[in-house]
């Protein structure tokens, strides 16, 4: 009987011991934290790293943003090695392809908004440092809105209704179904963010040796680009000149031009994204898609090397590989994508200034700026009278494979020419065609009834 009592006791303990309450069912969170845990400048800095890291995604600057823009120009073609970028190359995209940076871009903006909307007075840490980080987040927010705008906005197509993209300034805010803002509203918001950033930031917090975060003058450099794309020439001129006058950057010399693309944080770099072996992009890297044996889908058109004079060092970017394929071997050279990817570099700012001066009638000033480039490239100098085509050609030579050509065509109402049977397009696509704007992805159209699809899709 005593034995029985003991057993009874043991069972009782078991029953009570394992009865469980709501708290007993709390999961252990070993990898994540609640969003309310942001409390210090250190957290803000972590969020900034997360924000910039999202820009390195293979769907964005890691690969497909740059390739999608490059493949729609007249520099390269998709050779079908693995079947990638065929749709983009043919411009036969439809909403259900969910093409472009829509998802990636707004993810970056969401991250940036957490930083921007944090109340500096509630956070531990130096106020100026907090403001600097918030300024960096504003630069990124402006840049991403611009990237979305040039891909999905209707400023380059005929018959559109002038729609831009939604401006999103809150994280998990009240308006979860934003409608598209007008083109003008988007540009205004971009300029406002860039100016705020420039005013808030203090360059004592910028690390000259590390360009992998936006610095104070990144705001002005980006502004010069945005203004050029929107043909606001005096704004472009002023912004570019502020960058130049800062004296922080220099044009890379002819001897170092090709090798500079394999080096991080060079003197001509204004803002670049950090990639290292931890990222290990493999086949999703820019290097792999430009020249990998296994993928290597992006092959150079035979006419492209012909844009360079013999003495131009920039021709050294292009080589012929063992299989006889013409390749971009110089830019993003590391096969696994360990090279940093440049977002904006000094030479582009010079070219922006040249174009802005030219458009405002300052031919001499424009030539001076263009020759800043050519004199460092082993190329012939410009003199006398130049044309817009000269400026665009110089941009093409300098910025080849970096995702500029398609937009240089679109913003100048130029056709996408069918120059080779290797191209995926079947005929020249005329300026203003609806395909100059990507379709709004079907996933957005399904989820957001305020969204208006682009003309033609």
């Amino acid at each position: 009987m005593k034995k029985l009592k003991n057993i009874l006791l043991a069972l009782g303990i078991l029953f009570l011991g394992f009865s469980c309450s709501t708290e007993d069912l709390d999961p252990t969170l070993e990898q994540i934290k609640d969003i309310s845990s942001i409390a210090s400048v250190e957290d803000l800095s972590g969020l900034l790293k997360g924000t910039v890291d999202r820009m390195t995604d293979a769907g964005y600057y890691g690969q497909s943003f740059i390739i999608t823009d490059e493949i729609r120009g007249d520099n390269v073609f998709p050779n079908g090695n693995s079947g990638r970028y065929q749709t983009q190359g043919s411009l036969e995209y439809i909403p259900s392809n969910n093409i472009g940076i829509w998802t990636d871009g707004y993810q970056v903006i969401a991250s940036a908004n957490i930083i921007i909307n944090a109340d500096p007075n509630e956070l531990e840490g130096e106020l100026n440092e907090i403001l600097h980080i918030q300024g960096q987040a504003k630069i990124i927010r402006a840049l991403v809105h611009f990237d979305l705008m040039r891909n999905y906005g209707q400023q380059y197509i005929n018959g559109g209704n002038g729609l831009g993209v939604p401006i999103v300034t809150e994280f998990a805010g009240d308006d979860l179904l934003p409608a598209r803002n007008t083109t003008n509203e988007v540009y205004a918001a971009i300029y406002a963010d860039l100016q705020d950033a420039f005013d808030m930031m203090n360059d004592q917090y910028d690390n000259r040796a590390n360009k992998t975060f936006p610095s104070k003058y990144t705001a002005k450099a980006i502004e010069s680009r945005v203004a050029v794309y929107n043909a606001e020439w005096s704004r472009a001129q002023s912004a570019a000149q502020q960058v130049i006058n800062s004296g922080l950057y220099t044009i890379i010399g002819a001897d170092n031009y090709v090798s500079s693309f394999a080096i991080d944080n060079t003197d001509n770099s204004i803002f670049e994204l950090a990639f290292d072996n931890v990222d290990n992009r493999g086949s999703n890297s820019l290097g792999f898609i430009y020249k990998g044996d296994v993928y290597g889908d992006i092959e150079v058109l035979p006419s492209t090397p012909e844009i360079y004079e013999e003495s131009d060092v920039r021709a050294g970017i292009i080589t012929v590989d063992a299989n006889g394929k013409i390749r971009n071997s110089g830019k993003y050279p590391e096969l696994n994508g360990y090279d940093n990817v440049n977002v904006i570099r000094y030479e582009e700012v010079i070219l922006n200034l040249a174009e802005a001066l030219f458009e405002q009638g300052d031919m001499a000033g424009a030539i001076t700026q263009l020759n800043e480039i050519t004199s460092n490239r082993g190329a012939s100098e410009y003199s006398g009278s130049i044309t817009k085509a000269d400026i665009l050609n110089e941009r093409r030579k300098e910025l080849l494979f970096e995702g500029f050509r398609f937009f240089d065509l679109s913003r100048n109402s130029m056709d996408i020419p069918k120059i080779s049977d290797l191209q995926n397009i079947t005929a020249t696509i005329t300026a203003g065609d609806h395909r100059y704007a990507l379709p709004i992805p079907i996933v957005e159209m399904d989820a957001n009834s305020n969204m208006v699809q682009n003309t033609g899709y």
Binding site: I32, V52, D53, E92, I109, N210, D293
Partner: protein
């Protein structure tokens, strides 16, 4: 291996002899006609001591005192006879219907069929054992009305997908809950990589150890499982010891396997060449001014100018060799084998079952196999008059040598057949493997099979211990159970440095260790009153489950030598990762069953359950069910109707749940997993939803069970309706939020249908029996409500091939319609819209529209046949699946009328039917020298209806009287064929019609066809 078997055998024999001996009773059991009844169970009441009668109906049993003996035999009324002084007892058994006496294991309870108010389907061990299949769930196919099991892959050990009564949720899990010996277990894929073969935790179980599998479908049986009952429950019960002297069972199976259907025939290189020149002519002939016959010369003359590929030039220079890659990648007659030895024994206090098993199967593709060694020991012992202890333990170790599958991976052997050009050769002239001249990035599969590794090493240990106490209050008992289920996979990948996916990085190695511990504790009180024809069973149960898993991963590249395949030898270790995740469930359950006079049965259940997947305010949910049954045949007014042996009407209603969403999604959370420039970055990882709670399903079932004409005809009928409400949906968010979706409780969906089961015992006699049977189930699915955005507009879900919208079934096919080939131009034509009146050759100008079907079958049926004559027997089983459509994979590359097929990759032979000149009527467009982007249209959507002869077994049971002379109890030999015959409604389909559950085929190993020889002896 043999040595191990002997050691086990000896230890079991030794164990058996430890048990005590007492007085011996002998006797004979016969039916009313005086025929001996072989295999009647004789049990000493109140103990687990028992035996079975032999070939002459005789039995011998050891007893102490004058206990009551219970005689039971399927199909006969159970008899209880009190022993007198005599040591001899002869018994005559009276026949009774079969099905209504069967005990159905429902997981938390077990009831005789006549007391069940739902429609559980129970398969007993005969249907589960000695199948040449790695996992026991595959035996369910075609045997259970309303259960769809579809092949995810034929690679042995792969996960199979199971849907019971249709798809209950749009984005939450639809897998059933698995319960093993009363304990809910996790059954998640154990493989690390979606690109490699999956690993099914059920493949760790030895089917020979399984006594029964019950499939619970209806509200009365699934509601006790509360929040995990909606998708149905599969209850697996393992074997326990039978009283009596040690009885050994040895079985072995040896067979050969091949793909059941080989898939589409591919072009030869010569045929591809013909299409290649024709494409050049079609594309450039007019503009460059050459004729069809001059195309070849034009190609040779203008190769560099037009960027033509040099493939056919080189191939001609090499002497036009042809390769059939299907033959290269096939592991013909892949052997499958199993060996099992078990022993069962017991006395009045203790019984046990122990087993040891070995299973090995090669895959039908090169470089892949599966091996398992398993053991089990189940033991029950009475510690005192009121306390008994049961322990069930099993351990298994499995190795699956998998492959790259689930997509068109260039190093996947299954990809090779469809992608690698027949112009490429597996070997060089010197006999070495050809790695250089393959004309594409598809790899030489022979090299990959020999040098790359994708290996799962899975260990599973389970222990399940119950202490039962018959409490001092009469008819009240208490059970406590503690169970631990440990599953681990030490997964490894190696990609060689010479040729393959890692050739550019000097080789790549990755290791991933997953360890999961599932811990369950249950405490239960059971009470039973049986008085004046009233019978009440009450059970109150408390359950707590914790599941903890951790992961440890690392990868590296740059190997300096071959044959070193671990990260240890990598020159550049590139990454490391660890994590820990956990979830918990707590619940309280009450079950009541009341029956009166065997005629009226009412039962009810209520379960309160809390889960860590939900926020603390909405963590707990309540689930319940009520069921009634009326055994009409027991009523006095039925006495005149002798042809009705049994008739039962039954119905149940209940609320079940589903919590099949990711962990911790209710929290608005930050992740620290991103790394930027060597520093940890913070990103928002989940939108969160503070109101997240259970998905609920309101289910209703009404049905009848019947046995007619001396039990010659038996069967059942069900109508079910399951309405899912508060659906846990991953609701698409506007991407402008920075998130793609948020888990919400929104949406309503309904599944309904009927099920029918019929069995005829056509001939029933001592020497000759013939029975046929069948089952069918229908399923109709409709979405009634979806999430709405802030403007009140439905958020439809449009995928690449499907769309989900209110008023349609979930994931209805939604794509552009194909209008065939324009006979004048040879261009593909598409319907402009769903009226299918106007056509266009511009794909972009064609609208997508609903195709009227989904990938999920709406009609499932199974048929079976049993014949035995003297010792010979024949069993056959087939299943029929219909009402759905399937989408052919990778069409751009395999069926494209452009360079993708005949030039860059391989191409199917049906391309030879292409349009060639004006007036040709065909559905294959003209060949062009272009590369077209992806176009998805209904040319590739095909009727999925098929019939498959799942299992045919012919065998012989040796005469027991002869066997006894050589000391054997029984012996059986058989030959069994699996998937011997397949019929597809669409005779141009070419692919194995058994696509994956969603109607797709991801170039995985197709189902296998096998022939196996089996032997089973008891002694």
């Amino acid at each position: 291996m043999k040595k191990l078997l002997f050691i086990l055998m000896f230890s079991l024999v030794g164990f058996a002899t430890l048990l005590a001996q007492t007085r011996t009773i002998t006797g004979k059991v016969t039916d009313t006609g005086g025929e001996a009844l072989i295999g009647t169970t004789v049990l000493v009441q109140g103990t687990s001591t028992g035996t079975v009668t032999d070939i002459d109906g005789r039995f011998t049993i050891d007893v102490t005192g004058n206990p009551t003996l219970i005689f039971s035999y399927t199909g006969y009324a159970t008899q209880e006879v009190r022993l007198g002084a005599s040591n001899v007892m002869d018994v005559t058994m009276e026949s009774e219907s079969v099905a209504f006496q069967e005990v159905v294991v429902l997981g938390y309870s077990a009831r005789s069929r006549s007391e069940v108010t739902g429609s559980a389907v129970q398969l007993t061990s005969e249907k589960l054992t000695q199948l040449p299949l790695a996992s026991v769930d595959q035996a369910l196919q075609g045997n259970v009305a309303g259960l769809q099991l579809s092949h995810s892959s034929g690679t042995p050990g792969s996960v199979q997908s199971i849907l019971i009564r249709g798809k209950s949720s749009i984005t939450a899990d639809t897998d059933p809950l698995f319960v093993i010996d009363g304990v809910p277990v996790t059954n998640d894929n154990l493989s690390r990589s979606g690109a490699s073969s999956s690993f099914n935790p059920l493949a760790t179980l030895n089917p020979e150890n399984i006594e029964s599998i019950t499939v619970l479908k209806d509200p009365a049986s699934t509601a006790p499982y509360g929040a995990r009952g909606t998708n149905g429950v599969i209850v697996i019960t393992t074997k326990t010891g039978k009283s009596g002297a040690p009885k050994f069972n040895f079985s072995s199976t040896y067979g050969f396997q091949n793909d059941a259907v080989y898939g589409p025939e591919m072009l030869t290189a010569a045929q591809g060449e013909e299409l290649f020149y024709e494409a050049i002519y079609n594309t450039y002939g007019a503009s460059e001014g050459f004729s069809r016959s001059e195309a070849k010369q034009f190609y040779l003359d203008n190769m560099s100018e037009f960027g033509f590929s040099s493939k056919y030039k080189s191939w001609n220079e090499d002497g036009r060799p042809e390769t059939v890659w299907q033959d290269v990648i096939t592991n013909e007659d892949a052997p499958v084998q199993s060996y099992d030895l078990s022993v069962s024994a017991g006395n009045d206090r203790t019984n046990y079952f122990a087993s040891l098993g070995y299973f090995n199967s090669e895959a039908t593709v090169i470089g892949s196999d599966f091996e398992r060694i398993s053991s089990a020991l189940n033991l029950t012992t009475e510690l005192s008059n009121s306390l008994s202890f049961t322990t069930r333990n099993s351990a298994s170790y499995s190795e699956q040598d998998g492959l790259l599958e689930n997509s068109a991976y260039f190093s996947g052997p299954r990809t090779t057949k469809y992608f690698l050009t027949p112009a490429a050769q597996p070997y060089n002239a010197d006999g070495s493997l050809n790695l250089a001249n393959l004309y594409s990035n598809v790899r030489n599969p022979l090299w990959i099979a020999a040098n790359d590794i994708s290996l799962s090493r899975v260990t599973r240990l389970t222990t399940n211990n119950t202490l039962r106490w018959d409490m001092p209050i009469k008819n009240l008992s208490f059970d406590t159970r503690i169970s631990i289920d440990y599953q681990s996979n030490s997964w490894k990948r190696y990609q060689n440095r010479t040729h393959g996916d890692a050739q550019d990085v000097g080789g790549y190695a990755e290791v991933d260790f997953i360890g999961r511990t599932n811990f369950v504790i249950q405490n239960a009180f059971s009470y039973n009153i049986n008085a004046n024809r009233h019978n009440v069973d009450i059970r109150v149960l408390q359950e707590y489950q914790s599941n903890k898993s951790n992961r440890l991963e690392a990868g590296g590249e740059n190997f300096s030598a071959d044959g070193l395949t671990n990260v240890a030898s990598a020159g550049t270790p590139t990454w490391a990762y660890t994590d820990f995740n956990d979830w918990y469930i707590g619940s309280y359950l009450g079950l009541v069953n009341y029956s009166f006079d065997g005629k009226y049965v009412v039962n009810a259940s209520i379960r309160r359950e809390g889960s860590s997947r939900f926020p603390s305010d909405s963590r707990w949910g309540t689930f319940w069910s009520a069921g009634v049954a009326w055994n009409i045949s027991e009523e006095s007014f039925m006495t005149g109707m002798d042809f009705v042996n049994h008739l039962k009407l039954r119905s149940s209603f209940g609320v079940t749940g589903n919590a099949g969403i990711g962990l911790n999604t209710y929290q608005a959370s930050l992740s620290f997993s991103s790394a930027y420039g060597g520093e940890a970055g913070i990103t928002p990882s989940s939108f969160g939803n503070a109101n997240l709670q259970w998905e609920k399903a309101e289910s209703f079932e009404i049905g009848a069970d019947f046995e007619l004409f001396n039990s010659r005809v038996s069967g059942l009928f069900n109508y079910y309706n399951r309405k899912t409400v508060d659906m846990l949906q991953s609701v698409p968010l506007s991407r402008t939020t920075g998130f793609s979706s948020q888990n919400q409780n929104v949406g309503v969906m309904v599944n309904n249908g009927i099920e029918l089961e019929l069995n005829f015992n056509v001939i029933s006699s001592q020497d000759f029996n013939l029975s046929i049977g069948g089952n069918l189930g229908t399923n109709n699915n409709e979405v009634l409500e979806l999430a709405k955005d802030g403007n009140g507009e439905d958020i439809n879900i449009t995928g690449r091939w499907t769309k989900t919208e209110v008023g349609h079934p979930v994931n209805e096919w939604f794509m552009v319609g194909y209008a065939g080939v324009d006979p004048e131009t040879g261009d593909a034509l598409y319907y402009t819209n769903d009226t299918e009146t106007a056509t266009t050759s511009s794909f972009g100008a064609a609208e997508r529209y609903y195709q009227g079907t989904t990938g999920i079958p709406t009609f499932l049926a199974g048929v079976n046949l049993h014949v035995d004559f003297k010792g010979f027997f024949l069993d056959a089983q087939g299943n029929y699946t219909a009402g759905h459509q399937v989408y052919i994979p990778w069409t751009r590359y395999i069926y494209g009328s452009d360079r993708w097929s005949f030039d860059l990759f391989s191409g199917a032979a049906v391309l030879l039917n292409r349009w060639q000149q004006a007036g040709d009527v065909t559905d294959v467009p003209k060949m062009t020298y272009t590369t077209q982007p992806w176009r998805d249209f209904n040319r590739w959507l095909r009727d999925g209806d098929f019939f498959r002869l799942r299992n045919v077994t012919i065998g012989y049971n040796f005469d027991q009287s002869l066997l006894q002379k050589i000391g054997l109890g029984s012996a059986r030999v058989f030959v069994r064929g699996i998937n011997l015959y397949t019929w597809a409604k669409d005779d141009t389909l070419e692919w194995d019609p058994e696509f994956q559950g969603d109607g797709f085929n991801q170039l995985t190993t197709p189902p296998v066809k096998s022939v196996a020889f089996g032997l089973n002896i008891t002694f």
